[in-house]
Structure formats: structure tokens, C-alpha cells
């Protein structure tokens, strides 16, 4: 009995589309590429970094961008003794909510530090840029204590 012909079709798993990040998220990510941090004014005037497209309380579309500093203050933090494989750092580090100078709403990122006792709520930190910035959140490699 002859073998049936086996049908073959090459298949590559992947997303066959590109997606625009839009005028708000895109503006922030483009800023990162240029090593600049930008926030947006909420309905009540608070500056949100990274910027949001809509105000979470009023649902108003937001559009007033505000430049903010690359330094800020730790609002709260978690100390990671044993980084996970997916984490952005290989050595013990802190996750922190950081209120950047000129911002009212803290953002979440990682903070490089030698030990837990070096990190405190209220400590000043500064963004450390990646060697090559590509318009992605990880363009900020981490924050470091000032």
C-alpha cells in the first residue's frame, strides 16, 4: 500500500502585526529613547508619570504633557534578596515606588543598592539609563541612590 502524501506547511509563531503605542504612551517611550522623562496632568492637576491616556477618576482624555526630573524620592520599597530569573537585576535589589521631581504620582521601577539597610523610604534616587535606549521601559536600567 502506498504511503499517503503528507502535507507540509511552514509555520512561524509570531505576531504578524505592529501596534502603535499612541500619542501618550508613545510620547513617553520616545522620551525614554531621548533620555527624557515626561508626565501628564490629570484632571485635578496632579502630574502622572508615566503618563496615562485617561484620568482614572473622571475618564477625561488627558493631553497636557509636563517634563519631569530624572531624580526623585522613594515612597515605599520591597527588598528582593533573591532575584528571580525574569527580574531586571541579578544581584539583590529593591522594587520601589518613586515620586520623580515634578511628579505627584509615584512610578514603579527597580533600585540598585548594596544592601537593604542602604534603602529607606524618602531616600533620593536617580535614573540610570541603558547603554542603548530603544524606546522601551527598560531604557531606564534602574534607579540608583543619590
Amino acid at each position: 500500500m502506498s504511503q499517503p502524501e503528507i502535507l507540509n506547511q511552514a509555520f512561524e509563531l509570531g505576531y504578524t502585526y505592529t501596534r502603535s503605542t499612541g500619542p501618550v504612551v508613545g510620547r513617553f517611550l520616545t522620551g525614554l529613547k531621548n533620555r527624557k522623562l515626561v508626565g501628564i496632568k490629570a484632571s485635578d492637576g496632579r502630574v502622572i508619570v508615566p503618563p496615562m491616556e485617561y484620568d482614572p477618576d473622571t475618564a477625561e482624555e488627558l493631553s497636557e504633557f509636563v517634563d519631569v526630573g530624572e531624580q526623585g524620592e522613594i515612597v515605599t520599597f520591597a527588598w528582593v534578596k533573591e532575584p528571580r530569573e525574569a527580574h531586571p537585576m541579578n544581584e539583590p535589589f529593591a522594587w520601589a515606588m518613586i515620586k520623580l521631581d515634578g511628579a505627584d504620582v509615584p512610578m514603579i521601577h527597580c533600585v540598585a543598592a548594596k544592601s537593604e539597610s542602604d534603602v529607606t523610604t524618602g531616600a533620593r534616587v536617580r535614573a540610570v539609563w541603558a547603554d542603548e535606549t530603544i524606546g522601551f521601559m527598560t531604557d531606564i536600567r534602574c534607579f540608583e541612590l543619590v
Binding site: A78, V80, H87
Partner: protein
């Protein structure tokens, strides 16, 4: 409006690793026990079925469809699914009954969390541009929340340890619990920190398992002739995904949901609160204004076993159990979703006038 009652609840053991047992094999024994409790044969005997699970945990799109194999869906059944804790599947089922499209419903939730790295898997539920690329895990987010509360003097580490101690001791009476034992607050405080300021004990374990509930109109419950408890209210509310814009030391959405569900209309004898981290139980207790007259998490809660996508449903079942046993007359069950208590559902259950 038709009154709706719970007539059955079963849960599997909460296991740290179910091994080769797959999702369908986890669900089936739970469903069989639920059908036996209600006195029905199978899913054909209810008008609607709704499940809760998360494809990210199985790592495949539409993985939840395989769960339907546990039902034997031939001849065809009316079926739906939520990519959420099955407590929200119960909410959908309530709507189905309220709209007059069904008189009874089977709800089940399942999760096999052990094969993946759950805190990292859950990082992918966060903002896709600003947070998911950082892989910030759920334990670290909760640790930041706990430190904020400690810094502001809202709680102490001992308060947190006491929550853990009570959970482990209560869980000694829960045959399905994963973590139980006579552990004191001092024992918890003696643990070194894990993701500081949290200790391992402050964090729910990773668990595999499933649970199921049957609800029905009171007429149908009477026809079946089984004990039942009334669902007198259910509501849910969500806060912004931007954690920096929320007061994470409080749970505004839980309070709103409880108000809408009518919690304050009577005494709360028992409250099952979905607090994956010890300090979150304190946030919830305060947000709900619960006092000494309320027994909190008598099952041990999720610190004793956290069935992702099922424990919120189990909380409803645990309150049901205590009402039909006569231990409580009225209680609330809470379910949560998202990081640091972002989205919350509150169900109010009451003893039936005359069963």
C-alpha cells in the same frame, strides 16, 4: 425578583503540587461530590454552567475550554467562562438567573499554579508598556504595600504575624488546607524576611485545586429538597490599574462593593476575606468596618491555601457551609483580583427563613 440560594459547595484539597493530575482530573471529583450533595446527576440537570480560570497559568490560549471536558457537554449545555476567579462566574450566573434565562447554575473554578512561577506569571496582568516589561512580581508589589502601611504606623509586623497565626490555627479545622498548625505570632516573627518586609508566612502559598458551587432559585432549591442559604446581595468594584494613583493602604472598592451588596443591613457573623498577604486581611477588615462580633476567615483563608481562580468562589462556599450548619446566620464572602486588592467582589449570604 426571584430570590437565589446556594445549595451545594465542594472543594478539592489545596495541594502545593498536584503532580501529573491535569485540570480536568482536578475538577471532576469536585463536580461529582457537588452533584451528589445536591442530588442531581450531572451538568445536564442545571440550566447554566459558568467557570473561572486563567489561561496564563496553563500557558495556552483558550486552555479553559478543556475544563468543559469535566462536564461531559453532550448533549450541548449552556456554558460560559470568565478569565477571573470563579466568584465572578457566580456573579454572571446570578445575572443569568435574574434575567429569567435559568433557574439553576453550576459554577466551578480551577487553577494549577505549580507548573509555572506564579508571581512572575501574574506580573503579565499589569500595564503592558510600563510594568509587564519589568516583570515586577505580585509578592514585591504586596511588600511595597505592606511597607507603606508599616511606615505610616497603620500596622505593625506583629499585627501581620497575628493574622498568619490565626490563619494557621483556624486551618487546623479545614481538611482541605495546605498550611495549618499551632503557629504563634512569635513563631512567624522568628522567620527571616523573604521579600522584605514580608516573611514567607505573610504570603499565601502556591496551590493547585478546584472548587464548585450550585446556585438556584429558592423554588428550585425547595424542589431539590436540600439545605440552602440565601444570596441577599452581590456587588463588585474596581480601582485604577495605576497603583500610584490608588490609596493602597485602604480598599475603597471593597467598601463600595460591600455597601452596594447591603452588608450593613444586618450583623455579620462570619467573613471570608480573600487576602493573599497578611496585611491585606487588615486592610479589608478595616475597609469593611468588621469588629469582634465577626469571625474572620474561619477556614484559614488563602494564607492556608490559595487556589487561584477558585478561592474567591470557595469563600462563598465556606460562608454557605457555616450558615447551613447553624454556626452563623449571616455572613459575607470576599473575592479579589489584580495586584494589591485592585478589584473586589462582596457577596452577602443569609440563613433562609424556613428551609
Amino acid at each position: 425578583m426571584k430570590e437565589i440560594a446556594i445549595v451545594g459547595y465542594q472543594q478539592s484539597d489545596s495541594r502545593s503540587d498536584a503532580g501529573a493530575v491535569n485540570e480536568v482530573e482536578m475538577i471532576m471529583p469536585v463536580l461529582e461530590r457537588t452533584f451528589a450533595q445536591v442530588g442531581i446527576n450531572n451538568a445536564q440537570d442545571v440550566d447554566f454552567v459558568c467557570s473561572g480560570s486563567c489561561d496564563y497559568m496553563q500557558g495556552a490560549a483558550f486552555a479553559f475550554v478543556a475544563g468543559v471536558d469535566a462536564l461531559g457537554a453532550v448533549p450541548p449545555i449552556k456554558e460560559s467562562h470568565v478569565e477571573m476567579d470563579a466568584a465572578w462566574a457566580l456573579y454572571e450566573s446570578m445575572l443569568k438567573i435574574r434575567m429569567g434565562h435559568a433557574d439553576s447554575a453550576l459554577i466551578y473554578g480551577f487553577g494549577k499554579s505549580s507548573p509555572g512561577e506564579l508571581p512572575i506569571v501574574l506580573s503579565q496582568q499589569l500595564d503592558p508598556y510600563y510594568l509587564a516589561p519589568l516583570w515586577v512580581d505580585t509578592i514585591s508589589l504586596a511588600a511595597m504595600q505592606a511597607r507603606m502601611m508599616l511606615d505610616q504606623g497603620l500596622i505593625t509586623e506583629r499585627d501581620m504575624a497575628e493574622v498568619v497565626s490565626r490563619s494557621r490555627r483556624n486551618a487546623m479545622n479545614n481538611p482541605h488546607a495546605q498550611l495549618s498548625g499551632d503557629m504563634s505570632a512569635d513563631d512567624v516573627l522568628a522567620q527571616e524576611t523573604y521579600v522584605s518586609p514580608l516573611r514567607k508566612g505573610d504570603c499565601c502559598p502556591v496551590s493547585d485545586g478546584a472548587s464548585a458551587v450550585v446556585i438556584a432559585t429558592v423554588e428550585k432549591a425547595k424542589e431539590w429538597g436540600v439545605p440552602y442559604a440565601l444570596i441577599s446581595g452581590i456587588s463588585h468594584a474596581i480601582e485604577t490599574h495605576n497603583m500610584g494613583m490608588r490609596d493602597i493602604t485602604d480598599s475603597v472598592s471593597t467598601r463600595i462593593a460591600a455597601e452596594r451588596a447591603g452588608m450593613k443591613a444586618g450583623k455579620v457573623d462570619v467573613a471570608q476575606l480573600y487576602a493573599p498577604f497578611s496585611h491585606q486581611e487588615i486592610i479589608l477588615t478595616r475597609a469593611l468596618g468588621l469588629g469582634d462580633e465577626t469571625s474572620i476567615n474561619p477556614s484559614g483563608g488563602v494564607l492556608a491555601g490559595n487556589l487561584m481562580m477558585a478561592s474567591g468562589l470557595s469563600n462563598i462556599g465556606e460562608v454557605f457551609n457555616r450558615i447551613i450548619s447553624g454556626e452563623a446566620e449571616r455572613g459575607i464572602a470576599h473575592a479579589t483580583s489584580g495586584p494589591c486588592l485592585q478589584h473586589n467582589l462582596v457577596t452577602v449570604l443569609e440563613k433562609a427563613e424556613k428551609a
